[in-house]
Symmetry: C2
Subunit: 452 residues, 2 copies
């Protein structure tokens, strides 16, 4: 049995390890154009910040460790083509193209940072994306000699980098083309995130929303300033693109593998593509949203791991279903935790639900505990069915605890009425007697039904 895996960050690395455990005698080969495998891309902002000194801590497993387990790893290899009729891929290394046979192929090509078109954007050396270990090393090096950084995009990577830079005493400007920062959240919660960050700002950073960079000005390959769509000129030492990612599906598409409406590779619950013996997982694959039932593309490291495991099991002949995702995320920016799961009120309206929501602000533990901090929770449910649809929480550490409590409820398709008296753990250092999440659910229940 020849198993070939393209890509080796999260999904690919996980798939390789799992399949080798299931089929110890199989030949397992990983091809990656990267020169690292199995690393924590999500950890880059913390390496950049200096939370730990050695970038090697980001490496979960080295190529040597894979090889010791009998998994062959080919670094710096570009897979040029998948040829399904021949069960082959064409791999280019050092300008030499070699065909490699597979019985089962797992595509884990991930996603590429989105680089907006601005004239000269590829010419400046101090413009960065945040994806690979090298990106992290380069950004940290440059940061240590910089006084100002410009971040394009205010999603979770943008805000995590904001923390990294501010902790290293840089001044930061974040440019967001949408009207609000963290635009994945409902407008009211985005506004709250901004308000909470501004409260602890102390002149260290500024948000420019509803703006774009339209011009880059520098000397030779060094960017020195940018011009925004409203005509502002911002001097900077470095610019980092955190404007999202796009699924890396070119070779799959070329091979006739079906691409979903989201632009990512279409897979079924077994992580199989439309072509037999070819699986896809991780950031290059489309997902099903458990709440809406819709196809979505939400690239996250935790999902990639689970999908990699599931694809590997099915490729190895062990039945495994992956039901889908809830779009759960958590982000820390300075002292603020923000987390969400399910669908927002805005999304619910677009999809065709009749969303009703309750937002409450309360201490995350009993008020007399000196560590108590404020937390704001928004819970969204459907008026017609009473089903929970999602939640968003912003504030003290522990915001994520409430959101994870909701994920299981969404997974179980619970109604607000079923959820409202959930027996959550209680003790003064951990929550108020009635958790803010349940307060929100109780009020929401009354709002939905005029009953409890």
């Amino acid at each position: 049995m020849n198993i070939v895996i393209i890509g080796a960050v999260a999904a690919g690395a996980k798939a390789a390890a799992k399949i080798k455990r299931l089929l110890p005698d199989a030949s397992v080969k990983i091809f990656t154009r990267d020169n690292h495998v199995s690393y924590s891309s999500c950890g880059l902002p913390y390496y950049i910040a200096g939370n730990f000194a050695d970038y090697k801590a980001l490496l979960v497993r080295s190529p040597e460790e894979f090889r010791q387990d009998g998994i062959e790893v080919y670094l710096n290899c570009n897979v040029e083509k998948i040829v399904p009729p021949d069960n082959e891929i064409l791999v280019c290394r050092d300008c030499l193209t070699t065909p490699i046979h597979y019985d089962k192929l797992i595509i884990a090509t991930g996603a590429n940072p989105f680089v907006p078109y601005i004239k000269g954007i590829k010419d400046f050396k101090n413009i960065y994306t945040v994806r690979t270990v090298e990106d992290g090393i380069n950004i940290r090096k440059k940061m240590l000699e910089s006084k100002h950084a410009l971040i394009i995009g205010s999603g979770y990577i943008g805000l995590e980098l904001l923390e990294s830079f501010v902790r290293n005493n840089l001044k930061v400007t974040i440019i967001e083309q949408k009207e609000r920062i963290m635009p994945a959240y409902d407008d009211d919660m985005s506004d709250l995130i901004r308000k909470k960050l501004e409260e602890i700002n102390n002149g260290r950073f500024e948000f420019l929303t509803g703006e774009k960079v339209v011009e880059l000005i520098g000397k030779e390959d060094n960017l020195e300033k940018v011009v925004t769509s409203s005509g502002k000129i911002i001097n900077t030492d470095m610019m980092v693109l955190c404007a999202g990612v796009r699924p890396n599906v070119e070779i799959a598409e070329d091979a006739g593998i079906e691409i979903g409406t989201t632009g990512a590779i279409k897979v079924n619950k077994l992580m199989r593509t439309n072509i037999e013996n070819i699986y896809a997982c991780g950031d290059c694959a489309e997902k099903t949203h458990i709440v809406s039932g819709q196809n979505v593309w939400i690239p996250l490291g935790s999902t990639a791991n689970k999908e990699g495991r599931c694809a590997a099991m099915n490729a190895a002949g062990v039945y495994c279903e992956f039901d889908g995702v809830l779009a759960s995320t958590v982000t820390r920016c300075l002292k603020i935790t923000m987390a969400m799961t399910g669908i927002t009120e805005r999304e619910a309206k677009i999809i065709g639900f009749t969303p009703v929501s309750v937002t409450i602000t309360k201490n995350d533990m009993v008020g007399y505990m000196p560590e108590a901090g404020e937390i704001t929770i928004k819970v969204v449910a459907d008026k017609i069915t009473g089903l929970l649809l999602g939640g968003q929480a912003v504030g003290a550490v522990g915001a994520d605890k409430r959101i994870n409590t909701l994920t299981s409820a969404l997974l179980g398709h619970l109604t607000v009425a079923e959820f409202k008296n959930n027996d959550l753990t209680y003790s003064p250092p951990y929550s108020p007697t009635i958790d803010p999440l349940l307060d929100a659910a109780q009020i929401l229940c009354t709002k939905l039904s005029n009953r409890c």
Copy 2:
């Protein structure tokens, strides 16, 4: 409409406030033998520890505040009798007994600390229980002039007090008559709790398990030493009884109100007793366990609040069901968090399930984060149905997050297979890429079915 409520700590206070909001014109009267109302009994260890200075922080709502809302509060009143045929209670105050008419009666008489029979136990002034605000004030006062304290019982209140005393530089001996501390947990998890506490002990406390106090020795009303069942003599400055509580059901039982097999007042889902117009809620009422379907008695402040609300709604004519409890708890002792929900493996066997469990130890966040701490999670499921039965977690802060994630899954009666790929929030400061809870579920799933 005359509403009478007996008891005013958590359930009674909540019921009074809720019913007045629903029926602003009703007469609402609270009778309590206590001289405080609406206080956080669970906060006593933190007041004793000195986490906050003023005991008044424990008071959620004063009698005056209740009165301002039109609720009459009668302190230091002993309700001697309930006379259902006459819709009356007999209240004794200052040796004067007065009949009080009710249309709806809510019994929230709570629980009394269990005082083991040891000769002379009522004669010593430096032996305490931990239930009322006065208890807290008296313990703190005595603690400040003591060097050693003896705690009887190693359940959550015992361990919380251990923290309080150790933080105030007392040496502490905990005597537990069972073989293990925190005996509500499975044996392996109890052992782990003890091991983790011993690791940070530094000679400050000792556990004596499988032992009882059999003799109390002192001068006049001052306890000076105790003799244990194995013959040990322990000198001490004070002794605190944390040996559990018993439901306070005497007047209910006398009135012909049905008592359940657990010894607490039997109620239906509307919190109604067998007698029309009489409701019971909080620590005096029996509960249904959502996982086992059995009647249980688990006295907790969070449950009392929810039941008080539900009883009030039904008494006011607004339909409300309380589905039951999951026996979820969280306890902090020094730096250790321990939390549990559902049923343990031991309980599952007794009930008749075929439990299978997986225990894993892992960092609670990505290992490269400097704040990462170890967490051990045990997940229990039923081999026949695949249903999740419960979980226990011990270790770093964040143990409770995993347990709360499980509560919703138990509420939704999810199988391990349905739960194992739950889309939990992930970011390096909050969890590893695959949360330890999901690791445990994935392994458990394989163990149950030889599938994923």
